[in-house]
Symmetry: C2
Subunit: 341 residues, 2 copies
DNA sequence: GGCGGCAACGTAAACGTTTTCATGGCGACA
DNA sequence: TGTCGCCATGAAAACGTTTACGTTGCCGCC
């Protein structure tokens, strides 16, 4: 019946008394509108899809948390599909979400314009996360990898280190590339005469450990090392410990991401913090805006700030003792504060 | 047209040649069947819902990973809704998933039979995770908290510790209760004359730190401490370090969960490992089985084994040196192995 | 050669909403 | 008091698929 629909949804064009009667009856009969029928006629699913890479650990959970929080606040459902290793895998997932979602949040290593054009109908709005594609059709939301790396390298140099070695990430990775660019720019600006020194890595702990071993074996050791992510920094830290290198006195060390582990290694790791919850939340809110205002062509690139977190491995901590004094006020997880901002 | 449907789905009652022609045309026109229309008539969504508490960290991501992996293998979509603090919140989420999913995976602190009966129509199959409810209507999948705690306490006692103090979890938490029961049972069995000693905690790092402070302040310190989860064990470890207590020589320490941080604190934390990916995968597969065979009344309770991981804080590590030698072969993340079993 | 049966294919109904449109009643204004 | 118009309400169409059912044509057997 038409009035039922009006009463339960808009309420326009229906008497308050009738509306009340209908609501009462609906509650009594435990009536629930059939979602599929509504989708069919409305052509809206009230659902957004999140297409994520095969992502381990804290980053993943924080991202979903941010997305979910914002989605619930807007009454949107969240359809997730993670763990795609190959591009073919991701394409299949993309296609299978067709028609089940109003919009998409996409974070994938296999992204490029060709891939998107082949698998994503132009009609479905999408926000790309941490992606290098500069298409006119999609909104892009990135972490300020460049700025964060730049700030950290600058910080190391200003703390008195003469040179900084960079442990790079996987070659094709967009984040890794941006961080390396930030490193190079800061070196050019603040230590123009120091040599650029980039050693290979792949974001895994082991590659950091190997890089660290390689560095301590040199005749001329660097005075500071900046790893493209925390896991490699941790691996490097263990290599230094195993070689008897005093961190930070002999070599300063810093990472990127501020994963929880960073606070628990000894000494605690200086790093660049990324507010992942905010990344997820912002992405969803931008997508929601695109759903509400489909007219404006959504092409835009936004960037989310990072902040540098100085603990002990960079030698500039406020408490330069070698003991690990725990202070719980400063020890809260980033997501806790991020969740309230 | 009917033949189109037959060609694209079953293929029964349609010529191979016709079927091929239809498929070709569908591919050429980039035809995608409308999901909502199909749901409407089929009364199947091919989607399962995951209702999760407001869960931080590694546990969450591993769980979703396991669920997602199994769901994709079965061609099911995954609708998630996490971050519910209150029961009312969870109830709203439960209701809003009505009709959008064929079945539910539910993990919530607010679970009890009354809650479920009020918010979950009996028609939708559900698997409850880590729940104490013993209803005849739902399938339940639990971690073997009891057995894991029992084994760890036994291990500590057999390693020569005369007594074990337990740092409890939040009062209402099902996992915490089971772990405490396991502690009590193992103490009764293997150290019947030692006093039971339970101090309060709430699963957070700070409560572990406070418990640790309280323990070192005693005239008679315990010889071993077993925390109901890893975060409290880590907090306790820092309290011991700050007090100059030698772990494990003076006091042995163990946790529960095997969160990644456990391997990175100094000394590395002994703990009980939970294969979270397997928990998610098993839960989904049980749900999928219920979807395929709705006849069998699904009431069942399954339990997933844990294993104890002896690192250095329990004093029984195979390499009793005080240095933190990193060995990458043994240092893989639990999910890596879990993902392949 | 005719008839019966079977397989392929098309027609139409059904799923449960939203939305448009028509109808009727009531109030206001002339 | 009559007419006009608006508002509440109900009837019906539409969304795009699946499926039950009917129709057609072909093949085989009598």
């Amino acid at each position: 019946m038409a009035s039922v629909s009006r009463a339960l949804n808009g309420g326009r064009g229906v008497t308050a008394e009738t509306s009340e009667r209908i609501r009462e009856a609906a509650a009594r009969l435990r009536y629930m509108p059939h979602a599929a029928a509504r989708m069919l006629i409305t052509r809206r699913t009230n659902t957004v899809g999140a297409l994520l890479p095969d992502l381990y650990g804290e980053f993943f959970s924080e991202l979903i948390r941010g997305i979910d929080l914002a989605a619930r606040a807007r009454g949107l459902h969240l359809l997730v599909s993670s763990s795609h290793d190959g591009a073919e895998d991701a394409a299949a997932a993309l296609r299978s979400m067709q028609g089940r979602v109003d919009g998409l949040l996409i974070m994938s290593a296999h992204l490029d314009t060709a891939f998107l054009h082949a698998n994503l109908p132009a009609s479905v709005p999408a926000v790309l996360l941490n992606s290098g594609v500069k298409s006119a059709s999609y909104a892009v939301l990135n972490i300020d990898n460049y700025g964060g790396a730049y700030a950290m390298v600058r910080h190391l140099l200003e703390a008195g280190r003469a040179d900084v070695t960079f442990i790079a990430g996987p070659a094709g990775n967009f984040d890794a590339q941006q961080r390396e660019l930030g490193y190079r720019a800061a070196m050019a600006k603040y230590a123009p005469h120091a040599p650029l020194d980039v050693v290979a890595g792949d974001f895994n702990e082991e590659s950091g450990y190997l890089a660290g071993q390689q560095l301590v074996a040199r005749k001329q050791r660097p005075s500071a090392v900046f790893a493209a992510n925390d896991m490699m920094a941790v691996g490097c830290l263990y290599a230094f410990k195993d070689a008897g290198v005093d961190v930070p006195r002999e070599i300063a060390l810093a990472g990127f991401d501020d994963i929880p582990i960073a606070r628990y290694v000894t000494p605690p790791l200086s790093t660049v913090r990324v507010r992942i919850v905010d990344l997820g939340r912002s992405a969803l809110e931008q997508l929601a805006a695109m759903l509400e205002e489909p007219r404006q062509d959504a092409a835009s690139i936004h960037t989310l700030d990072c902040e540098i977190v100085t603990r002990e491995t960079c030698g500039a901590a406020r408490q330069p003792t070698t003991t690990t004094g725990k202070v719980f006020d400063s020890g809260r997880r980033p997501s806790d504060t991020g969740g309230k901002s």
